[in-house]
Symmetry: C2
Subunit: 189 residues, 2 copies
């Protein structure tokens, strides 16, 4: 089999799980939506959890690559990129198929901290934080860890707000708070 077949399956399965949830999507539905029979699916993956794990990993790679590319396109310096984080999130929220953060949802459905799906989802979030930390260091802030964490917390809050429709422009609101935090931190340098 060509590797693209397997990748195609995972990508289509990602759509299904993202839209309908993990436990709510049975293997029959996945088979129907992907156009690949259950037998073929189970030829590639031993269990449903294995498939979901592959879905999480694909989303991890694709989404992180997309987010980084947007941040780097929207900001030309390390400091401006810390704010571009929220512009990129605003773009994400505005996408037609936006249904929240797959990793937050995965942790919500697979609560056991030892579960691979849970751990993989957490790893994604840590990498996001690490990226912000890198930006904060390059921007020359005296306490880059605090800056990075603030950005991360505001971004995650914005995602929750976007899903729950608490405010109209969660990314913009989070950005305003981030501007204040960065300005204050800069003044102390």
């Amino acid at each position: 089999m060509r590797p693209s077949k397997k990748d195609e399956l995972v990508r289509k399965a990602l759509d299904v799980y993202y839209r309908h949830g993990f436990h709510a999507s049975g293997m029959d539905l996945v088979a129907k939506e992907t156009g690949i029979s259950k037998t073929a699916i189970y030829n590639h993956f031993r269990t449903k959890d294995d498939l979901i794990l592959a879905v999480i990993q694909l989303r991890d790679e694709e989404f992180r690559a997309w987010m980084v590319s947007r941040i780097e396109a929207l900001g030309d310096t390390a400091e401006s990129r810390l704010l571009a984080v929220f512009d990129a999130h605003a773009e994400w929220f505005a996408q037609k198929g936006f249904f929240g953060c797959l990793f937050i949802k995965a942790c919500a459905e697979f609560q056991d901290v030892d579960h691979p799906i849970h751990q993989q989802s957490c790893a994604h979030q840590r990498q996001a934080l690490a990226y912000y930390h890198d930006l904060a260091k390059k921007a020359g802030f005296s306490s880059p860890a605090d800056i990075a964490l603030s950005i991360w917390l505001l971004a995650q809050g914005a995602i929750v707000a976007a899903v729950m429709g608490v405010v109209d422009d969660p990314a913009g609101d989070a950005r305003k708070a981030a501007v204040t935090l960065l300005c204050t931190a800069k003044r102390q340098d």
Copy 2:
């Protein structure tokens, strides 16, 4: 039947759903864990969704009451209470049975924005924001809406961080950012 019987059912069902998730918890499990037969459950609630909705409503009342009482105990002025929000969250995260925010998880499992469970969960979050807004107004900030939203975003981010174990003390980290924001806002008054 006495009303306490029904309340007892809902409270025990809350435990089950909070620990195992909504779709992952079948009615047979709920019956076993609550010690109430399915027939009795369906005598009180027409469908599983109705039971879940009652669970969400109970959690809404109980959790909001608990959070407000802790915030008011931990802070004696409106401004200090805006920071006590994070101390209360720290207490919550430290509780043995902490498994994240039920409302975030409910929205993750019931994505349809028209679904009553989804809407009820969103309503809870809006009420939290409204409470922060009230505190910000009483504290005399010039733009209480921005302050309240910042607090809310940081708190939600802290919850996500607590669930995903991204950092050791998410509530404390969020508090630090909030302190900076409140100080900056105060200076502009």
